[in-house]
C-alpha cells in the first residue's frame, strides 16, 4: 500500500481523497474492501518517513481546506526501487497488480517489462520445483508437497500471461 501510494504520487501531487479513489479504481472489485482511513494513516506515516510532504490547498466554499501531498526526492527514489524489484519470496497478487497499474500511470516503468521480469523469476522457481519433483520417486509424500508448490507457480505463471496480454494491448492502444 505504501509503495502503491508513492507510485501514484509520482504521476502528480494529489489529495488523500483522490489517492483513495485511484487506488480503489486500480483494485477493481477488490477495491470495495479497502478502508478509506487507511490512505490517510499511510500518508501520515510516509510523511514522517520523509518520503512525502504536503501543502494546504485553498478550499472552495463546499470543500474545506485539504492537504495536497507530493513526493520528496527520497520518495521518488523509493518508487523507482520498488518498481524495479522482483516480488519475492512470495508474489503478492494485489501488490503486483498495483505495481503494474502504477507503472503504467506514472510512466516510470513498462508494465510488460515488469511482467517479463516476474515471469523469469517464477520460471526459475518452477524449474527448481520441477527438478525436485523429478528427483522424488513417484507417489512419495515429499513429492506431493512439491507438486503443490509447482501447481501454484503454474497458476501464477498463467495469471502473468493474462497480465501480459492486457497490458501489451493497452500499450498498443
Amino acid at each position: 500500500m505504501q509503495d502503491a501510494i508513492l507510485a501514484m504520487l509520482a504521476k502528480e501531487p494529489s489529495h488523500g481523497y483522490d489517492l483513495g479513489l485511484r487506488l480503489r479504481r486500480a483494485l477493481g472489485p477488490l477495491g470495495g474492501s479497502m478502508n478509506a482511513g487507511q490512505v490517510y494513516v499511510t500518508l501520515a506515516r510516509l510523511e514522517k518517513a520523509g518520503l512525502v510532504v504536503h501543502e494546504r490547498s485553498a478550499g472552495s466554499p463546499d470543500r474545506p481546506d485539504r492537504k495536497v501531498y507530493a513526493l520528496t526526492d527520497a520518495g521518488h527514489e523509493r518508487v523507482t526501487a520498488w518498481l524495479a524489484e522482483v516480488n519475492r519470496p512470495k508474489p503478492d497478487l494485489v501488490e503486483f497488480h498495483l505495481k503494474l497499474a502504477a507503472a503504467s500511470a506514472s510512466r516510470l516503468a513498462d508494465p510488460v517489462e515488469l511482467v517479463d521480469v516476474q515471469r523469469r523469476e517464477l520460471l526459475r522457481r518452477l524449474a527448481e520445483a520441477q527438478r525436485a519433483v523429478l528427483a522424488e520417486p513417484e507417489g512419495s509424500t515429499g513429492g506431493l508437497l512439491l507438486e503443490g508448490v509447482a501447481l501454484r507457480l503454474e497458476a501464477d505463471l498463467r495469471w502473468l500471461e493474462a497480465c501480459e496480454r492486457v497490458w501489451s494491448r493497452r500499450a498498443e492502444a
Partner: protein, 241 residues
C-alpha cells in the same frame, strides 16, 4: 559447438486472411548437450519452428544448419537421410506402429538406415533397457500405458544416435505421473549429453529445460537460462501462501 544454427528463419503460410508468418525472422544457436524448450500459446509458430529444424518443412527464407550441414537447401534424398540418421523425432501422439512390438518399433529406424537385423536387435535391447522398459520389449503399443508408449517412442528416436532429438508436445497426451516419467527420461538424456529441443505449451514441462525460449506470433519474445544452481528448496516453500 552449435548443433543447430538458425539465421533469419521465416516461414509463411497461406491463410484465409492472407499470408501468415508462422515463423518471422528468428535466429537461434543450440549448443551441443543443451535441453532447450520452446513455449508459447498455440499458433505462436513453435511447432512450425521444430518442423523447420528437422527438415520436415522448408522455410520461406533464412538458413538452418545441423552440425554445419545446410538443412533448408538440402535435396530430397539428403533431407530424407538427415531425418533418418541425424534427427530423432518424438510426437505428442507417439506414432508407434501398432502391429509391431515395442522392440520392433525401436529396431525399425536402425534397419531403415541400413543396419543389420542383429545390430538393430542389440540396439533396441540396449535402448529399452535405458528407458526402463526391457520387461515390455515384446508388448505391442496398445498393451502399454501412455507413459510407456512415449518412452518407447523416445527409445526409437535415439535408435540411430541422432545429433538432436526434436520433441513436439511430448507430454501432451499424458497425465501427471506419465508426464514425470517422460521428463525424467529427458533429464537422463541431458545428463548423457544428448541435445534436445522440445516444444510445449506446458510451463511445468518447459521449466525442466536448461533454457527456455518464449514465442509469440512467430518471434522470440524471451530467451531465459533456467539451469541455475540447484538446491535452494528453502526458497520454494515460502512461495504462494
Amino acid at each position: 559447438m552449435n548443433v543447430l544454427q538458425v539465421r533469419d528463419l521465416t516461414k509463411r503460410h497461406g491463410h484465409k486472411h492472407g499470408l501468415v508468418r508462422a515463423v518471422d525472422g528468428v535466429d537461434l544457436d543450440v549448443p551441443a548437450g543443451q535441453l532447450l524448450a520452446v513455449t508459447g500459446p498455440s499458433g505462436c509458430g513453435k511447432s512450425t519452428l521444430l518442423h523447420l529444424l528437422g527438415g520436415l518443412e522448408r522455410p520461406t527464407s533464412g538458413q538452418v544448419w545441423l552440425a554445419g550441414q545446410r538443412v533448408d537447401t538440402a535435396g530430397e534424398r539428403a533431407l530424407a537421410r538427415l531425418r533418418r540418421r541425424s534427427v530423432g523425432f518424438v510426437f505428442q501422439s507417439f506414432h508407434l506402429v501398432e502391429e509391431l512390438t515395442a522392440a520392433e518399433n525401436v529396431e525399425l529406424p536402425v534397419l531403415l538406415a541400413g543396419g543389420s537385423p542383429r545390430a538393430a536387435r542389440r540396439r533396441a535391447g540396449q535402448l529399452l533397457d535405458q528407458v526402463g522398459l526391457a520387461h515390455r520389449a515384446r508388448r505391442q503399443p496398445w498393451r502399454l500405458s501412455g507413459g510407456e508408449r512415449q518412452r518407447v517412442a523416445v527409445a526409437r528416436a535415439l535408435a540411430n544416435e541422432p545429433l538432436v532429438v526434436l520433441a513436439d508436445e511430448p507430454t501432451g497426451n499424458l497425465d501427471t505421473a506419465a508426464t514425470n516419467e517422460v521428463l525424467r527420461l529427458f533429464a537422463d538424456l541431458r545428463a548423457m549429453g544428448q541435445t534436445v529441443v522440445l516444444v510445449t505449451h506446458d510451463a511445468r514441462v518447459a521449466a525442466t529445460a536448461d533454457r527456455l525460449i518464449s514465442m509469440r506470433d512467430g518471434v522470440f519474445v524471451d530467451d531465459a537460462w533456467l539451469g541455475g544452481p540447484a538446491g535452494r528448496l528453502g526458497d520454494l516453500f515460502a512461495m504462494g501462501d
